[in-house]
């Protein structure tokens, strides 16, 4: 029995593939011969596509970019990974993929197809569309003596949500949205020439440029910054961002945290879909203040909360209006409402495509200013006893 088990296991291993040199398993790579790719660019070219890989052979090594053209991404990538410079490029650590606007307009499906089919690529690779230029030029412009372009792109990936300027969707999310909804949101970026913060960085700065509503083989349209903010808030992608709101003569920068989005359908008595309701609740904390207002007073706090709610509502309304205008439900409201009320949505007798263009969508925003970080404006603590020494102190400070 033992021999049979061992023989079966050994046979299973032998059938996994052919050998590679001294090793039995064929996936062997020499560690020192690896070119670690972190960013991939794809642009359209005369040959078809130009693929660029931007990688490094080590932490201290200078980042390099190699590019090849071919009729398809696969062919161009094969040329690149045939060790043209004595190294083997591996794509498993690719963090972001930048594609030029021209290519995205017609061949987004091909890019996604390659990522999904090529086992080395990860599906959670972020996808960005480069506007007003090619991805290759952007990466070249971003790369500086001490700042690899990959780090700049990865930095944007991490911080864009914090800034409230968008969200880098992964290839998996985009592909899933295209499959389920027929369209998908893709983050756009562009290179901007700005004053260099230090000498050894690249000539260009990477800036968010809204979002694109994409179909597999065409671009539906682009969202402005405000529409992008609204869309991300509704979709719950921005759980935390900083927003400026005017209050009296000052501008308060509020850190918006704990954003909750609740989307539900409202039906008439005869089962018809009357409207969709989007309710957003968010909590905010004061980060900084340009100007002077007494944020400790209740009426100023309420005005700040209202200003924040108005700003968020405006952004959400803009995003909601943009869908019917483009003719695509890029927020996937249909899917969300169906998941919320599957039976009622099924029974309403009309398809979502018919309802969507004229469906009223009401957005309601509730904001709460939690903390001003003022020493005499302590946070509300439930169950606190009246007249504690701390309260007396803060009351006296307030009175003075």
């Amino acid at each position: 029995m033992k021999k049979a088990v061992i023989f079966t296991l050994a046979l299973t291993l032998a059938l996994t593939g052919c050998s590679s040199g001294l090793t039995i398993f064929s996936n062997y790579r020499h560690l020192e011969m690896i070119e670690l790719v972190r960013t991939v660019t794809v642009d359209s070219s005369e040959d078809g596509v130009t693929v660029g890989i931007y990688g490094t052979a080590g932490e201290e090594q200078e980042a390099r970019m190699y590019e090849k053209s071919g009729p398809s991404i696969g062919v161009a990538m094969n040329e690149l990974t045939l060790r043209p410079l004595g190294r083997e490029a591996i794509l498993s650590h690719t963090e972001n993929m930048l594609i030029g606007e021209d290519l995205a307009k017609t061949r987004l499906d091909e890019v996604l197809d390659y990522v999904e089919r090529f086992s080395e690529m990860r599906l959670d690779t972020g996808l960005l569309i480069v506007r007003d230029g090619t991805a290759r030029d952007l990466v070249f412009g971003l790369a500086g003596e001490e700042t690899p372009a990959s780090d700049v792109v990865a930095g944007l990936d991490r911080n864009i949500a914090r800034l409230g300027r968008g969200y880098v969707f992964s290839c998996r999310e985009i592909a899933a949205s295209l499959a389920q909804n027929g369209c998908a949101l893709v983050q756009c970026v562009r290179g901007e020439e700005e004053e260099k913060l230090f000498e050894k960085r690249g000539d260009l700065n990477l800036a968010p440029a809204g979002m694109a509503v994409m179909r597999p083989d065409s671009t539906v349209g682009f969202l402005s910054d405000e529409e992008t903010l609204g869309a991300m808030l509704i979709l719950g992608k921005l759980r935390s961002c900083n927003l400026d709101v005017p209050v009296d003569d000052a501008v308060l920068t509020l850190s918006v945290d704990n954003v909750k989005s609740d989307i539900k359908p409202v039906f008439s008595k005869d089962g018809k879909l009357q409207r969709a309701e989007i309710k957003l609740s968010l909590e905010a904390n004061l980060v900084s203040m340009d100007g002077l207002v007494d944020v400790r007073t209740r009426d100023v706090r309420e005005r700040a909360e209202k200003a924040l709610s108005d700003k968020v509502k405006s952004a959400c309304d803009a995003a909601v209006r943009r869908g019917p205008a483009l003719g695509f439900d890029f927020l996937d409201l249909g899917g969300i409402l169906t998941r919320r009320e599957p039976i009622a949505m099924e029974d309403m007798g009309v398809s979502w495509k018919e309802v969507f263009p004229s469906l009223p969508v009401e957005v309601e925003v509730e904001s709460v200013l939690m903390r001003t970080y003022d020493i005499i404006d302590p946070p509300e603590i439930s169950g606190r006893e009246e007249g504690t020494p701390w309260e007396k102190l803060t009351d006296s400070l307030r009175d003075s």
Binding site: F25, E32, E59, I90, H93, R122
Partner: protein
């Protein structure tokens, strides 16, 4: 030609002529310079002689002189006794001050007694000799254990003398049901061994099995622990220890109280405990000295160490050679950077470092203590650092091998540590050949082997496999002393597995 079974030769008896008996003994101990014999005059009367025989060194000279010769030659005591039969009766009745006296009629018994630290008195015209136990007290005193460090607990370790060891056990387990059965091991060395258990509590099946295996040991002499271990374990070909060996008397007694049988062997400063299960090798007596939460955390740490020492090098080899996508980007960059100047492939690096680690360890053990420590320091610090600086090995490999090595040292039982080290090599080789598939296959084979082991009828991997699953927490954690104490159900103790508090 048919060959009939020859009858066993009759054992020679003591001759009524003392000279003949002494000559026979001298023949037995021919060419033994430490065999001594001399005449004694009973009660100071030159007409009544007795021959005193002993092996110098095995007996205490002062005890022989004070407790045997002095009273025997005392005229007041033996002067009036004329016949030898009365002398023998008086000697056996306590007229000399020795607590053990035996009457012997066979020469073979007499010769054996001499080897056991007795002196013998042979009388003229009598077929009976008398032997007295006057063992030399030259033996190592009880000291703190050297191999198993005691942090908080009893510091009396076993010594080479079995009787001292049984005394240590008796002092800790004052129970009339504690039984100590003696056995003789070895056709030539005739080593004494003792089987220790608590009657009515220790599972009778385990006791019977231990008896059977001890009696069945075929050896010339039980002078090393491997003779005992390899002869009594279920699978002597497995590198994993299947009986617990300890030099700590407190650990030995705790396990006897758990329902295990103990074996002590004269000449070995160790006690053996059976059955030995994998979970028992992860425990130390200090677990019962410290707080139960801390002890539980440390036990879990030891299990983690098993995984680390076994898998870290193999996992590194598999990931670095085949599955680079599993390494985080920053770490991968550092690894590639460090590997640029190293001329050897990853597999060679790891094998080299593992061998170097074993060499250093072996050198450290074999050399005398101060030099051994110096070698370890030179090896670990200077050679390791120089190897990295000279780009012979990459720093990550040094870190991985060192981590695996240190994790191996956390094993309470060094036999288990050695077995894990051996398996580590096989897993690395499997990883070199097949990557993660190889590591998974190696782990599967290892688990298969461990799960198929048994120790005295108890599954080795109990309670993880083959045992009762609900007792898993007892293996992984140390419960509070105030909680109800359940014993290992597989030991099937006489109290039904529930401690009598």
């Amino acid at each position: 030609m048919m060959r009939g079974r020859s009858a066993a030769p009759a054992e020679p008896e003591i001759s009524p002529d003392a000279t003949v008996s002494v000559a026979a003994l001298e023949e037995v101990y021919k060419d033994c310079y430490d065999f001594e014999s001399r005449d004694l005059h009973i009660g100071g009367d030159v007409r009544r002689k007795a021959r005193l025989c002993f092996i110098d060194g095995l007996v205490s000279g002062s005890d022989v002189a004070e407790q045997v010769i002095k009273p025997l030659t005392d005229p007041e005591r033996f002067g009036a006794v004329t016949d030898m039969k009365s002398v023998i009766a008086m000697l056996l009745g306590g007229s000399v001050y020795v607590y053990t006296a035996k009457s012997r009629t066979k020469l073979g018994e007499l010769a054996e007694d001499l080897l056991n630290g007795f002196c013998a008195l042979i009388f003229d015209a009598e077929r009976t000799a008398v032997t007295f136990e006057v063992k030399s007290q030259q033996r190592r005193s009880v000291e703190a254990p050297k191999e198993e460090k005691v942090v908080k607990g009893a510091k009396d370790a076993f010594v080479e003398t079995m009787k001292v060891n049984t005394t240590l056990v008796r002092r800790k387990l004052r129970n009339t049901h504690l039984k100590i059965r003696q056995y003789k091991l070895g056709s030539r060395a005739d080593t004494a061994a003792a089987l220790i258990y608590i009657e009515g509590f220790t599972n009778e099946g385990i006791v019977a099995e231990a008896e059977r295996r001890l009696s069945g040991i075929r050896t010339e002499g039980a002078l090393t622990s491997a003779v005992i271990e390899e002869n009594i374990v279920d699978n002597p070909h497995s590198p994993f220890p299947q009986v617990i060996s300890t030099e700590r008397s407190d650990k030995f007694c705790m396990n006897i109280l758990e329902g295990r049988v103990g074996i002590l062997v004269d000449g070995l400063p160790l006690g053996f405990l059976a059955p030995g299960t994998f979970s028992q090798f992860m425990k130390v007596p200090e677990d019962h000295s410290g707080h139960f939460i801390v002890a539980s955390a440390l036990t879990l740490l030891r299990y983690f160490s098993v995984a680390l020492t076994l898998l870290a090098p193999a996992f590194y080899v598999a990931v670095a050679m085949y599955h680079q996508e599993m390494i985080p980007t920053r770490l991968m960059q550092s690894m590639i950077e460090a590997k640029q100047q190293v001329p050897f492939p990853t597999a060679a690096e790891v094998i080299m470092m593992l061998l170097a680690f074993e060499l250093l360890q072996e050198a450290g053990i074999r050399l005398p203590s101060p030099i051994g420590e110096t070698v370890s320091i030179i090896g670990a610090l200077i050679v390791g650092q120089s190897a990295v600086e000279a780009s012979v090995v990459s720093p990550v490999v040094v870190v991985v091998i060192a981590l695996a090595g240190i994790a191996g040292y956390t094993m309470p039982n060094q036999d288990m540590g050695s077995a894990l080290r051996l398996c580590r090599f096989f897993l690395v080789l499997a990883a070199i050949g097949f990557g993660m598939f190889g590591v998974a296959l190696g782990c599967a084979v290892l688990l298969y082997h461990l799960s198929s082991l048994e120790s005295f009828g108890v599954p080795y991997m109990t309670p993880f496999a083959g045992g009762e699953g609900q007792h898993l927490s007892r293996a992984l954690l140390r419960h509070s002393m105030t909680d109800k104490k359940d014993r290992e159900p597989e030991l099937k103790t006489g109290d039904g597995g529930e401690a009598k508090l």
